[in-house]
């Protein structure tokens, strides 16, 4: 592989990480479509590289969430049982699945991500110190934004487990973290405050991606030529993205990012149907 393509992949990964970091989606959502659509990287190689990048992002990012006590360890472990199984079987399906199916599924996930961003809302969780806690999942953390302790008890655990299985299968098949599904589910359905949901998800996605990555490794789909620029790009991009998040009001950029997601989603869907429509780029 020539140096120019290495540089292009690294810059694409960095840009994907900036976008992913600013939107809380993780870079994988952008890495796989960008690599396959613009640089002609094989879908399964791109998914393998993305899974490794998701692990790297999780290893770095979840340290911060753990230190701030945003990560609910018990909740992450119980949901991870379902997610890890889902990811393992999803990855086994993906390495044997036709590329068209993966493109179509990825296109649908991108459109789902666009829709969830358009309708983005988080709910305020009421104080959970008085709620029953049969699974001992209650957690407390200090939220500097409101300068007080937040206590909550995750609800509807069975529903969360079902969604986690599905998120695991999708993560395993597409090499994305699954946070785009997990965070809104935890927040809207399980009544977990959004910071705790993001912190718990950040820890979980790394474990999920490991289950995926080793299956791709066993099928020789982890290509160091692609992984090296991806990792360096993601490390740089996620740092830039987290700094930009503090400076730029993400809401203003939401419309643009939704358009990017819709564009990539439609391109992948069309590719899965073998349809070519003239696109501006």
């Amino acid at each position: 592989m020539d140096a120019t393509l290495t540089l292009e992949l690294g810059m694409t990964a960095a840009l994907a990480a900036v976008l992913g970091s600013m939107l809380g989606l993780g870079g994988g959502v952008f890495i796989v479509p960008a690599f396959t659509l613009f640089w002609g990287v094989d879908e399964k190689i791109a998914i393998g590289a993305s899974a490794v990048a998701v692990v790297a992002n999780s290893v770095v990012g979840s340290r911060v969430h753990l230190a701030h006590r945003f990560t609910n360890l018990r909740l992450s472990v119980v949901l991870q049982v379902a997610t890890a199984f889902g990811a393992f079987f999803g990855a086994l399906m993906a390495v044997n699945a036709p590329t068209r199916l993966l493109n179509g599924l990825f296109g649908l996930v991108l459109l789902f991500a666009a829709a969830s961003m358009l309708l983005k809302r988080s709910i305020k969780i009421e104080d959970g110190s008085h709620l029953p806690d049969p699974h001992r999942l209650r957690a407390t953390y200090y939220d500097p934004a409101i300068a007080s302790q937040v206590s909550y008890v995750p609800q509807r655990l069975n529903f969360g487990l079902a969604v986690s299985s599905a998120a695991g299968v999708i993560s395993g098949m597409l090499g994305v973290g699954g946070g785009v599904i997990q965070v809104p589910t935890m927040n809207l359905m399980m009544r977990v405050p959004v910071k705790a949901a993001a912190g718990t998800s950040a820890f979980m996605v790394g474990i999920t991606a490991v289950a995926t990555a080793f299956v791709f490794y066993s099928h020789e789909k982890i290509n160091p030529e692609i992984v090296i620029p991806t990792l360096f790009g993601v490390f740089v991009g996620s740092r830039v993205g987290s700094r930009l998040t503090r400076r730029v009001r993400a809401e203003r950029l939401t419309a643009m990012f939704v358009l990017i997601l819709i564009y990539l989603g439609l391109r992948l869907l069309l590719k899965s149907l073998d349809l070519q429509i003239a696109m501006p780029w």
Binding site: V59, L73, V77, V81
Partner: protein
Amino acid sequence: MSNEHTEAALTVQERRENILLPIITQVIQVLRWGFRATAALMLVGVAIIIATSEQIATAVDPLEEIPGEIAAFNGSGFVDLGILVLLLTPVFAVATVAIGFHRIGDRRYALYASIVLMVLGLSIAAALLR
């Protein structure tokens, strides 16, 4: 619910959070050292590749070939090991959680963490048996 009950609940919660603190601290350490080891191995590998104009492999080598690659001072061996250390870091983190829950007598969550480890073990076994 009276304030007394609420305070009692919070006291129990605070006690539970303090019990988890050593586990959280150990997991953070595992993640920190995993990242440092990965970064060091990758940087050494890339430096060797650039210095020797070595051709990068298109797939990570099987595990048994990596020690030989490193002994031969091939950059690809260091990169491969870096990728493997990165992928094993969350596995060690889950093992730390399982041991931590076991130590504090929380058998239920120790079991859940062990099941997660088992699934990851299946995935790793698939990779080793390739």
